[in-house]
Symmetry: C2
Subunit: 309 residues, 2 copies
């Protein structure tokens, strides 16, 4: 019985320390130092070469290293019955909250427009706008999305949530796809994607979507890069339909050097920092799932493959 980690070229020292701190009897191996493939019973993985996990006949479950699992679901070679596990983490919620609070309040205070004015040496007060006159649309109401939506509402923002199924969230109006009217779309000042990447969400934020928004709206992506049609975003920014975008996730990461986003004055790029999984905060949960898998007990946070999250 051993855990095999696929890390790519990351430094995972802190992960190994955190797992050992929970259970120092664990046999943890780091790909490609596999040892006897027959002994591998649990996988912990970042994005990996598809097909990799089929080489381990006694594998019982594959755990993602974060909340996202699209890097595993995309591997069509995987046995349909192999449990895929995601992590949930209150630090992850908090980390996402901090990033979104910073960027949403920056946009709500129109600091992007004041930065533009400063570059033109213009001293002019814009019509003031309190948080309670700013409407934020949250796309994706999984555990992180719900957490963020509820806290934004408590902070005084008007919050509307968008999800496939109806949910109860304090202070938040929730819309399922059939309930979304033009009036709702026109009410949004700031649109945030915290969606998982699925067949339904790929390319979701496109020209048609942006055209339905209020002129001058803001787009913030902390979901997955492939949900956004990048050329459509640039067009919407340049026509003035959108005023600014914050992108923490991108189709290709790192962003390639000749990408127009780098130098675009209406685009703020951050290198996938919004939701950092803290090893210390999730190690116990991984170890618990490992032992459950070894003993044939019920696993936690099993992904529904049809839903994609």
């Amino acid at each position: 019985m051993a855990i095999l980690i696929y890390k790519g070229d990351r430094d995972i020292t802190r992960w190994l320390e955190a797992l050992k701190a929970v259970d120092d009897t664990l046999d943890i191996r780091v790909y490609p130092e596999v040892g006897n493939a027959e002994e591998i019973t649990f996988a912990l993985t970042w994005p990996y070469p598809h097909g990799l996990w089929n080489d381990f006949p006694h594998l019982k479950a594959i755990s993602s290293i974060g909340a996202g699992v699209s890097h595993i679901l995309e591997d069509k070679t995987l046995d349909r019955d192999m449990p895929i596990l995601k992590l949930t983490d209150s630090r992850l919620n908090q980390s996402m909250w901090e990033y979104l609070l910073a960027t949403i309040s920056y946009q709500a205070m129109q600091l992007h427009r004041y930065a533009q004015q400063q570059s033109e040496k213009v001293w002019a007060e814009l019509p003031p706008r309190g948080f309670d006159s700013v409407t934020v649309g949250i796309y994706g109401l999984g555990s992180i999305g719900k957490f963020v939506a509820e806290r934004l509402a408590a902070e005084g923002f008007v919050v509307k949530g968008f999800a496939n199924s109806s949910k109860e969230i304090a202070g938040v109006e929730v819309y399922t796809p059939s309930e979304v009217t033009d009036t709702v779309m026109q009410s949004l000042d700031i649109v945030v994607s915290i969606l998982p990447l699925t067949a339904q969400t790929e390319g979701f934020f496109d020209q048609a979507f942006f055209a339905r928004l209020k002129k001058g709206a803001t787009f913030i992506n902390v979901g997955r890069g492939a949900q956004l049609i990048e050329v459509d975003l640039i067009e919407a920014l340049e026509s003035g339909q959108l005023s600014h975008a914050w992108l923490d996730v991108l189709v290709q990461e790192p962003l390639r050097e000749d990408h127009p986003f780098w130098a675009h004055p209406q685009v703020s790029i951050t290198p996938h920092i919004a939701s950092i999984t803290d090893p210390l905060s999730v190690a116990a949960q991984i170890v618990e799932n490992y032992h459950a898998a070894m003993q044939g007990n019920a696993l936690h946070n099993v992904v529904d493959r049809e839903m994609g999250y």
Copy 2:
């Protein structure tokens, strides 16, 4: 009995509407349309030419149009017994809170450094820093400062408050001047001035102050411009002692066109937007003080001239 407003060149339509909405029997005059100077019994004023209020023999009180009163206290021609009134306003607290939450969370998330990296096309994650590892020092614990300090603590920041006298604020360590050690100064990641302008605070943020801070700290001024020695700030930014400054108040407003702050990459300028007095929110309080002054009753929010606030 009449109220005289000194407005300078501002459009005060919304103020007049708000005051009339509270009491439509008020006789309100706007300088220089004074009428009979004997009839003026109450003043409401933005910065005005010193000596102006001595022309009204029956004046009972002078009210500032906001929380700040230095524009009145600086008028040394005023009768020492003339009551000077300030406004307190929950909208004002909220407006200040929103500005500070936006700028403090921007700095805490190191978004100023990511903006710099973007300009250099650098995709690199900085060591992550949660709100709970960021220490914010609040200078000035009047009604706005207390409100902001308490909410920042509730948001998860480590908050230290600095004031002339000790105060109890939930979640905040408060230091009087004699209690401030080098260790305390070195712990501050972000320094915020919400101080009133007094003889003690003029020029308070200078080379010696900045030198005591942790290297790379942030300075945010929402107090008054003259609290800052501007050349010392530029020197501290350029030496790397400070990483960034947000200035919403300046020695001279509007900032003159040839001022080095405009084009400084480590300085963000906003045109005095942090604490906007909303006429609708304070009109009742002004009218109440007016009636109290007319009837010889106790006034609210009378400024202590010795303290300066």
